[in-house]
């Protein structure tokens, strides 16, 4: 049996004096699509960022792909994070942003791949990202996910700002990503979580 993709054990995280995560534990197995549900401020985004190794918890352990999160380096390239809103260089075009993502991950830049990923989500390649609507940025984030093919896909409220066609494409991308690894998504939308997730986890405010 293969190892869990994510193991979070008794994690505590605070910002200043405010504890945001208190004794949180979670395991995500290969092939799972886990939806984190909960009200604003409960720590869903913080948990995603801890798992993405972007911030360190004060206490507790995080293991990714069977290794302690502190020790992963090359494996970090297997993590895909779609923030809310997704982050891109606004003065670069969508295509240039995708090529940058490939280059910074140390992968060969293939223009045709970037263009194909953009066409796949219905985006024009040459327009600068600053001229994109929020829905188009979400679509560009999907294009980046298609291109990077992460083994662990972390999504923060991915369904917001997307139209119906965009949501359908999002669901396809999530299922594709889960086949190659696992998906963990944070959302307020219970119906979306119900439709896409194989397991739902409710986070509650504590203290």
């Amino acid at each position: 049996m293969s190892e869990p993709v994510v193991e979070v054990g008794n994690v505590w995280k605070r910002f200043g004096r405010q504890w945001v995560l208190r004794d949180v534990s979670l395991v995500v197995e290969p092939g799972e699509i886990v939806a984190l549900l909960g009200p604003n401020g409960v720590g869903k985004t913080t948990l995603l960022r801890v798992i993405a190794t972007l911030i360190r918890p004060q206490r507790g352990q995080v293991r990714l792909f069977g290794k302690p999160a502190k020790r992963i380096e090359q494996e970090r390239g297997w993590i895909g994070l779609v923030a809310n809103p997704p982050a891109f260089y606004r003065h670069l075009s969508g295509e240039e942003n995708l090529e940058q993502a490939l280059a910074l991950a140390g992968r060969p830049i293939r223009r045709e791949q970037a263009l194909a990923a953009m066409a796949d989500v219905g985006l024009p390649p040459s327009r600068p990202v600053m001229a994109y609507s929020s829905g188009m940025r979400k679509r560009l984030a999907l294009a980046r996910t298609l291109l990077m093919q992460p083994r662990l896909l972390l999504l923060d409220e991915p369904e917001t700002a997307l139209d119906e066609a965009g949501r359908e494409r999002l669901v396809e991308v999530i299922h594709t990503a889960a086949r190659g690894g696992a998906v963990l998504l944070a959302t307020h939308d219970r119906s979306f979580a119900g439709a896409v997730a194989t397991r739902r986890v409710a986070m509650e405010a504590r203290g």
């Binding site: 972007l54 494996e75 297997w78 994070l81 940058q100």
Partner: protein, 220 residues
């Protein structure tokens, strides 16, 4: 390799926006104008002040550029994208350092010409001035790129940057000023070389420490 990709990408963004260089050039022009007025029309005064004015202006404008190097990531909220790239994270520092170094050299060359025109710095000695600029600029960018990265997530980052960088960078600025004075007043080349050696030592020490420490401090 990825450090070059990052540096070239930042240069492309800077070229499209020109926010960093324009503000640094404007700052330099204002500093030189005020200093020029303050030291009056006397040629001897201006000659003596020239090397100090050059490096003070470069140091302050360099801090503006160091903030700019990381502000690109803050404005676009893309720092996480860099941190998620595979491998150890030294390359992020090296990429920002390269970007900042190129801007510093462009600005330093511009500043040399202005100081030569206003403060009688002898441009005939341009090869020596260029060596001093490269050695002094490298030490300065090594420290300022590191601390600008360290403070990038803080609200008071611009104030903190000056407070953190200037005490550490003082030996570099002093050695660079001494070398420039030697060049400006025709001192023995051996004396200038001794300051260059000191600058070289600072560069190696600062670069090594910053590369080693950066991965540990950039994580939130």
């Amino acid at each position: 390799m990825r450090a070059w990709v990052l540096a070239l990408r930042d240069l492309r963004l800077e070229w499209r926006g020109r926010a960093g260089l324009l503000s640094a050039f404007s700052f330099i022009a204002v500093v030189l104008f005020i200093m020029g007025i303050a030291f009056g029309p006397d040629e001897g005064n201006l000659r003596r002040a020239g090397p100090g004015v050059l490096w003070v202006a470069l140091a302050f404008a360099g801090s503006l550029l160091a903030s700019r190097a990381w502000a690109i990531e803050v404005e676009n909220e893309t720092l996480d994208e860099l941190l998620l790239a595979p491998g150890s994270r030294e390359w992020i520092y090296v990429g920002k350092l390269l970007f900042l170094w190129v801007l510093m050299m462009v600005m330093g060359a511009f500043l040399l010409v202005l100081v030569a025109a206003w403060f009688y710095l002898p441009l005939a000695a341009w090869p020596q001035l260029l060596v001093t600029l490269v050695l002094g600029g490298t030490g300065y960018t090594a420290v300022s790129a590191f601390y600008a990265g360290l403070t990038v997530r803080l609200r008071a980052r611009d104030v903190l940057l000056y407070l953190l960088v200037f005490p550490l960078i003082l030996p570099v600025v002093l050695a660079a000023v001494k070398a420039t004075i030697g060049i400006a007043f025709g001192a023995d080349i051996a004396e200038v070389v001794s300051w260059w050696k000191l600058l070289g030592v600072f560069d190696v020490v600062y670069l090594t420490l910053c590369v080693l420490l950066f991965p540990g401090v950039i994580e939130g």
